[in-house]
Symmetry: C2
Subunit: 215 residues, 2 copies
């Protein structure tokens, strides 16, 4: 039996070092103080099968897995996550807060690895139908800011330089997503001090009408 009031679906995105973990906690507290019953989850993973697929994706990455197989496995984990965790919670009137979702596939596989964005879009429709997050918050900061927070070294070596190029493409893809879908995706400037970042997040949640008090 479905709850008459469907819950919201909120996702948090961003490259490494932008403060996803602490801000996920902050968003959860804001939502709960507005009366939301929150389910916090993450991708890839979130289910037994998803974690097993995550293990396969990591352990076989050195065999040069085909790009198509990798995308299909990611969306298989997502289909299971939707079926077992996300959709039941939303139907139950709960608010789902997810650490990364399909926008990460566009950013990392589409932008970073340059896989065909149309093929990602086809799988998104196949798996999700019309379902999209009500709000996706992208924590945005220059790649070097993320690097500086994640490591104490300042001079990147060759490998780190290659990673920089990769993360520049990921960041660009995230920014383009926010430009293309302003009705449901927004950027937050994560290069600021934490208090200022949290102020922006609070504002965005208000602007996108997520914090409406729940009875």
């Amino acid at each position: 039996m479905k709850n008459e009031k469907q819950g919201k679906f909120i996702t948090l995105e961003g490259i490494e070092g932008v403060g996803k973990t602490s801000n996920l906690r902050f968003i959860k507290e804001l939502l709960e103080s507005s009366g939301h019953d929150c389910v916090v989850t993450r991708e890839p993973g979130g289910t037994n099968l998803g974690e097993a697929l995550r293990g396969l994706l990591l352990s076989h990455s050195d065999e040069n897995m085909s790009a198509d197989a990798e995308l299909l496995m990611m969306f298989a984990a997502r289909a299971e996550h939707l079926s077992k965790v996300i959709l039941p919670a939303i139907d139950n009137g709960q608010t789902v807060l997810c650490d990364r979702f399909t926008e990460a596939t566009y950013a990392y596989q589409g932008g970073g690895r340059r896989l065909d964005v149309d093929k990602i879009s086809e799988l998104e429709d196949w798996v999700q139908g019309d379902l999209r997050p009500n709000l996706t918050i992208i924590l945005d900061a220059p790649v070097e800011v993320g690097r500086a927070r994640a490591s104490s070294r300042s001079e990147p070596d060759r490998i780190e330089k290659e990673q920089d190029d990769f993360f520049q493409r990921v960041r660009k893809a995230y920014i383009e997503l926010a430009e293309h879908y302003p009705d449901r995706i927004c950027l937050v400037d994560a290069s600021k001090e934490l208090a200022e970042v949290q102020h922006q997040i609070h504002e965005r949640l208000g602007e996108y009408d997520i914090l409406t008090t729940i009875d």
Copy 2:
């Protein structure tokens, strides 16, 4: 560098007990005696990743995996199989003989488990593009013939009866595939004696122009 002469892609299908294993060997011998350089493979599996996915599909089946996740994992294994085994062999001018392929997904998941055939078709296009087997031979026999060959019991119990209904739907789906795609899918009556079945297979390979002698 691609070989100018692309190899053929042949698949063998059918429910349990119809003689797939011995006839696979027979087809391989026929092809080789006509000068084909054969690669014999199978689904699901055929690659390291495919076997690992096959393991996940089997070990998680009791958790009631979502139908979408199952289909995506099957096609992930297929994408890897195509990329690592089937397409390189075809490009190399070899003839690929595969024990089950996408037609089995239509028959077992579509027919047997009643999953949405349009969703299977979308994944087929996503993974294979225009690629279809040059010839698919379906070994067809009444379900009770397959059962009798696979088991010595004659009175089915309740579980076996349920399995019968399932395999009746699988068989029906296979027959319908042959009716819809007569240009590339054919039935062989596998209820006959082995020699007669092999005679039919030999004829089909001739009719579909597979046995053309290779220089």
